[in-house]
């Protein structure tokens, strides 16, 4: 449970409860059918508070085989986080035809393996990105699109965007440019494939191993942290 030290966490909770907690997330009591009082703590009761575990890769040829399959079947979460997402639809057009490479869009994080962060990331969006990323299943890969995800790009001094994406979630492949063309993205996919096949794309486990550091970074940016520490 304790990700940072305990005092800080408690303070954190108090602050969020005081300022940012939405009414439906506040602790309250309801009356049951038999007239009994039931205490409800939405953040703890509605969400699983288990800590995620590192899922060790298989050994040897089995893992290689699986990695091949993972690399040849990249299901991308259809979530356009920034302006770079305009470059994604052409990927599936006859001209670029990403299907050739086993790339496909999936509408739900549960079924997707690849998360493309397409450009600058507003703090508001970061929260959604973290949720969606955590809801994806291990193994999962992140492709960061454009300069904004590397160093903030033209928004490097913005009050509202993050500068370095890999402070918040592990990134497997960066594709530079503002914005990168679809060809560049395809090339990025191929780089990712190589990485997977080599067994080096273990971002999901890395995230769990260094969860405390990631969480600290995330919470530094996101003031209204009104969700559980890990979104299953």
């Amino acid at each position: 449970m304790s990700l940072s030290n305990k005092n800080e966490q408690e303070k954190n909770i108090r602050v969020t409860e005081d300022k940012f907690l939405a009414p439906e997330n506040r602790k309250h009591t309801v009356i049951g059918p038999g007239g009994e009082e039931i205490f409800v703590d939405p953040l703890n009761d509605y969400f699983c508070t288990e800590k995620p575990k590192v899922e060790k890769p298989y050994k040897g040829i089995l893992e290689k085989f699986y990695n091949w399959a993972r690399a040849e079947s990249l299901w991308v979460l259809g979530y356009g986080t920034g302006c770079g997402s305009i470059e994604l639809p052409p990927l599936f057009s006859p001209r670029f035809d990403a299907y050739r490479f086993g790339v496909a869009m999936r509408p739900t994080p549960r079924q997707s393996g690849v998360f493309i962060i397409s450009g600058y990331l507003a703090v508001k969006t970061l929260k959604r990105v973290i949720r969606s990323y955590e809801q994806m299943q291990n193994p999962k890969y992140v492709i960061a699109l454009g300069s904004c995800t590397i160093n903030g790009g033209m928004y490097w001094d913005s009050y509202n965007t993050i500068n370095r994406l890999d402070h918040y979630i592990p990134v497997d492949v960066y594709i530079a440019g503002c914005m990168p063309r679809p060809e560049a993205i395809l090339s990025g996919f191929n780089r990712l494939k190589e990485k997977i096949k080599e067994g080096r794309a273990e971002g999901a486990n890395e995230y769990i191993e260094k969860l405390e550091w990631y969480k600290a970074n995330q919470k530094k940016i996101i003031k209204d942290w009104n969700m559980p520490d890990y979104n299953w």
Partner: protein, 1042 residues
């Protein structure tokens, strides 16, 4: 033996004596009056017993020491003894009841009371017409005086109207007497009859005036406004005297004087009685004032008695029994009801909820009402049955219709009233005050009803075929009602087990009966087990539950139509009370009763028509009916009210949904099969396969198909879990009706499979949902959700239930579907069949809605701490699940014997199912329940093990750990998709679920009530108008006669 003259002597003497007593002596006067009222009771009853047992003969008392025509003579025969006994008992009890009021008014009021009773006695006994007139006038004066007892504006007004009206009527009587003497030369009734002066033209006018006045005294509709006002305004104790006492005397006078007239008077009397019975009861339906309502009912009953007298020659030897049972019901019940009304002191029937304050009063109220409407085992049931049968024997069906219609209207307002009493609103401040002197008289009358019922039973032709032991057991349950529920429950279950064990050998050779007996008794026992979860005493539940079950069993045991109808009515009565026990059941139970009553009367009429031209009443005579079209149709519609065919279904959803949790399975899974059994009896009597092309069956087939579709479609759009199941029952009964209407071997087999299945899964589902409702205390599915965690066992039960309901292999529901397809194609009813299959797929929608909305989806905070349903609910559920499993795996165990029976009997010899070990086949297809179950079971197990291996490392998450487009759900309530789940379906097909039937019945109901209400305006309240109506009535009767 004391001479009956002493009745008069004592009463009159005491009346004079009281005049001498000073005003301060009310206490002594009260005692003296009671004694002097008790002595005539003894005298008349001893005469009655002596004459009845043959120890004494009727005697004639000659006054003034000479014989008629020179003196007045009084006769004490059997009838006189009976009626005087009735009057004197009423007098004594009425005095006890009224004593407080009378004491307030002083000794003179008591004298008046004595004079009244004396007058009534003489009116009964005298054989002199002028003496009759005199004492009728004395009675009038006494009654007018007693009406004044209440001493308020209304009673004065009513008393005046009464006095003027009766005064005028007796003046006509006096004219009659003048002519009577002029033409007959005597004042003695017997002398006049002996002189046979009817031939003299003038005597007709004398008799006209005499009889018409007596008829008017009996308040024929519509010349009875004055009487209604009196009933309403007089203090209820006096109304009881008028209703039971003076009406009794008057009806006897009519009986006594009728021999004077010619045959035509009987016909006139029949018409008058019929008009009165029907008219008065019809106008009563929109009446809300308690005493006035009783007045309408009272007048109606007297009308029925007039009809009975009018039909004297046709009824023949049964006349006495019929007259006795109808009369005694009216006499006891009406007096009792007036007395109860005096205790309750509520003007409007809507305020009668206060009656619940006293169990005994409520009990008495109930039995009085049931006795009036003519439910078994009360006397009027026997009477009405016998009367209808005798009339049917001579083909007088119009009259039967009138009797039944009148009874229906009477049932309508009486049951509305009962509904208010059992379920009406009741303020907590008000307490029902029941002094002993007010409750003893109705109590004695209530007990007397049972004694009278026993006599009516023994007098009835078929009465001795009724098994009274269950009824005694039911009474016993009333007696031990103070015990805790679990003891009574155990006793009840024990009795049912005992009954089942004893019943089995007698029906074991008839598989059909065994199946239904098993549904009724095993189902009964299982649902009673659920009753163990009820704490406290559960007053009034067990007698009626037992009544319903014994009614159902009675249907199976019935050897003749009388037993059948008796059991049918018993079942209706028991189930009505069970249904009305629900919290919001008043309206629904009322609807149920109306449809049941209407249905029962249609069945009654159907039976009557079948019996026409047949000598016996065996069930088989339905098939020998000389007007098969009528009797089949009537019986079918009657049974369909119970199976809730579309159009007749509107009572069902509410009744089943609002009933208590463990009552719903009783009335749904089990009770409905009563109607199915009725249909089976009817169809078998029609001749089985030979009747397969009967047009009635064709229309019933369509009706069944449409019912299946409509029921399922309506179920889809319900938000109330129990209502959903109720509509599903409508649909399932539609399937059964449809399959029965095939009249083929396989069709019947599928109907029976359906019946068994429906019993299994609907009882299971209602028990499971009932258990849930018990815990979460709401019926609305969208308020529930995610209960699988708290109630896993209930979830399993519902899951099994819906798989069976939907007919998904490998469970037994599929057996029904498969047989159904075969039957449809064999029979050639393709389009109806398609409709039914369409309905079958619609069933998936509500099956999913039911299990998803309740058990899956988002759990609600409110229900975090609810517990699993009570163990007593789960035990029967799992017994039923075992039943379903056995029936699914080895359907041959049940279907083989049924098939064998159907094939061997002469009804369905051809095209049967053939069995090869466990594989059934028709000439179309084949199916092996056992193997299918095996294949699917093995496969499912293998896959489960595989998946469990593959995903052994899953992380269990909580309710909001769902992907929500990067967001999180708001609250469980907004995340649970349940309310209006099938809105798109409603857009597409919602027009088919328009409540046409409800609208139709509402309009019918509305129009009926409006007409009744409008016609009621006839009673303007103006005394003068009443008089004008009386005169017009005389003129009209005169014109009719001559």
């Amino acid at each position: 033996m004391v001479s009956p003259i002493y009745i008069i002597a004592i009463l009159l003497g005491m009346a004079f004596m009281l005049g001498l007593l000073s005003k301060s002596g009310t206490r002594i006067a009260g005692i003296l009056t009671s004694v002097s009222l008790a002595l005539p009771v003894y005298i008349s009853i001893s005469w009655f017993i002596q004459i009845l047992s043959g120890n004494a003969d009727a005697i004639t008392i000659f006054t003034a020491g000479s014989v008629p025509p020179f003196s007045i003579n009084l006769v004490m025969g059997l009838e006189e003894a009976f009626f005087t006994s009735a009057i004197n008992i009423l007098g004594l009890l009425g005095f006890i009841y009224l004593s407080a009021d009378l004491k307030k008014q002083g000794v003179r009021a008591m004298a008046l009371y004595l004079v009244l009773i004396m007058g009534l006695n003489v009116v009964v006994m005298t054989r002199d017409i002028f003496n009759l007139f005199v004492f009728m006038e004395i009675v009038t004066i006494a009654v007018a005086g007693l009406i004044y007892l209440k001493n308020d504006n209304q009673s004065k007004e009513a008393g005046f109207k009464y006095l003027v009206a009766v005064g005028i009527i007796s003046l006509f009587f006096l004219i009659g007497i003048g002519f009577f003497y002029f033409y007959g030369g005597t004042l003695n009734i017997d002398g006049f009859i002996a002189a046979n002066s009817v031939v003299v033209k003038g005597a007709t006018i004398a008799i006209f005036f005499i009889i018409i006045s007596i008829i008017l005294e009996l308040k024929p509709f519509p010349a009875n406004g004055w009487a209604l006002d009196v009933y309403q305004a007089a203090t209820p104790g006096v109304s009881a005297l008028i209703s039971s006492g003076t009406a009794t005397a008057s009806i006897f006078v009519l009986y006594k004087l009728l021999p004077l007239g010619s045959e035509i008077w009987l016909q006139i009397l029949t018409v008058v009685g019929a008009v009165t019975f029907l008219g008065s009861n019809f106008l009563g339906i929109s009446q809300k004032n308690t005493n006035r309502l009783l007045g309408y009912s009272s007048i109606g009953q007297v009308g029925l008695l007039m009809m009975v007298i009018g039909f004297m020659p046709q009824l023949g030897s049964a006349f006495k029994m019929i007259f006795f049972s109808v009369f005694i019901s009216h006499f006891l019940a009406k007096a009792g009801l007036f007395w109860l009304s005096g205790i309750v002191k509520k003007e409007s029937i809507t305020d009668w909820g206060i009656l619940r304050g006293s169990n005994i009063a409520l009990f008495l109220f109930g039995i009085f009402l049931f006795a009036l409407v003519g439910f078994p085992p009360f006397p009027s049931f026997y009477g009405k049955w016998q009367m209808v049968m005798e009339l049917a024997g001579t083909g007088r069906f119009i009259w039967i219709v009138i009797i039944l219609l009148g009874s229906f209207f009477e049932g309508l307002y009486l049951f509305r009233w009962l509904g208010y009493a059992i379920k009406g609103e009741k303020s907590n401040e008000e307490k029902l005050q029941i002094p002993w002197d007010k409750i003893v008289p109705p109590f004695i009358f209530g007990i007397s009803l049972f004694i009278a019922a026993y006599y009516a039973n023994s007098m009835s032709v078929y009465g001795n075929t009724i098994n009274l032991i269950p009824l005694v057991f039911i009474l016993l349950l009333f007696v031990i009602d103070f015990l805790p529920a679990y003891i009574k429950n155990t006793i009840t279950i024990g009795a049912m087990v005992y009954y089942a064990v004893n019943l089995y050998p007698s029906i074991s050779d008839d598989t059909l009966r065994v199946v239904f007996a098993a549904i009724f008794l095993i189902g009964g026992i299982l649902t009673m087990i659920a009753g163990y979860s009820v704490k406290g005493k559960r007053k009034g539940f067990f007698p009626f539950a037992v009544m319903m079950y014994f009614g159902l069993i009675g249907l199976i045991e019935a050897e003749n139509l009388f037993q059948f109808f008796f059991a049918w009515e018993l079942m209706t009565l028991g189930s009505y009370i069970l249904i009305i026990r629900g919290k919001f059941s008043m309206k629904h139970a009322f609807n149920y009763m109306l449809f049941s009553l209407g249905g029962a009367y249609l069945i009654f009429l159907g039976i009557a028509m079948s019996s026409f031209g047949n000598t016996s009443l065996d069930i088989g005579i339905i098939g020998l009916s000389t007007m098969p079209g009528w009797s089949y149709t009537l019986l079918a519609i009657g049974f369909l009210t119970k199976t809730a065919a579309l159009g007749l279904h509107i009572w069902l959803p509410g009744a089943h949904a609002e009933a208590e949790s463990d009552v719903s399975p009783m009335v749904s899974g089990i009770l409905l099969k009563g109607g199915v059994f009725g249909l089976i009896v009817l169809f078998l009597a029609m001749g089985g396969e030979q009747a397969a092309s009967h047009p009635l069956l064709y229309s019933l087939g369509w009706l069944g198909a449409i019912t299946a579709l409509g029921g399922n479609l309506l179920a889809v759009f319900q938000e109330d879990a129990k209502r959903l199941l109720a509509y599903s029952s409508v649909a399932n009964l539609g399937y059964i009706l449809f399959a029965l209407a095939f009249m083929t071997n396989i069709g019947w087999l599928s109907a029976l499979t359906y019946s068994i299945n429906h019993f299994l899964f609907k009882t299971l589902l209602f028990l499971a949902i009932g258990g849930v409702v018990l815990r979460v205390k709401t019926h609305n599915m969208y308020e529930m959700g995610g209960l699988i965690k708290q109630m896993p066992w209930s979830f399993i039960a519902v899951l099994i239930g819906i798989i069976t309901l939907a007919g998904i292999p490998p469970l037994s529901g599929y057996a029904g579907k498969w047989l159904f397809y075969n039957a449809v194609i064999t029979k050639g009813w393709y389009f109806q069949g398609v409709l039914v299959f369409f309905a079958g797929t619609i069933a998936f929608l509500y099956c999913f809605k039911l299990i998803y909305s309740v058990f899956l989806g988002q759990p609600k905070d409110r229900f975090r701490k609810v517990k699993e349903a009570p163990i007593w609910y789960l035990i029967p559920q799992f017994i039923l699940i075992i039943g379903i499993m056995i029936f699914s795996a080895r359907p041959d165990l049940v279907l083989k014997p049924i098939g064998a029976l159907l094939t061997q009997s002469s009804y369905f010899p051809s095209d049967s199912l053939s069995w090869e070990n466990v594989t059934a086949s028709t000439n179309l297809g084949y199916w092996s329940g056992y193997k299918i179950m095996l294949v699917i079971g093995v496969m499912f197990a293998v896959l489960l093990v595989w998946l469990m291996y593959m995903s052994r490392k899953t992380q269990k998450v909580k309710q909001f750990n769902i992907v929500y487009a990067g967001e999180r759900p708001f609250t469980p309530e907004t995340t649970h998709f349940s309310h209006n789940m099938f809105s798109h379906y409603y857009k597409a097909l919602g027009f088919l679920s328009a409540p046409l039937a409800t609208r139709f019945w509402n309009i019918t109901n509305d129009i009926t009530h409006r007409i009744a209400d409008g016609s009621k305006r006839l009673y303007t309240g103006n005394g003068q108008t009443y008089l004008a109506v009386i005169m017009a009535y005389i003129i009209i009767i005169y014109l009719i006669m001559f």
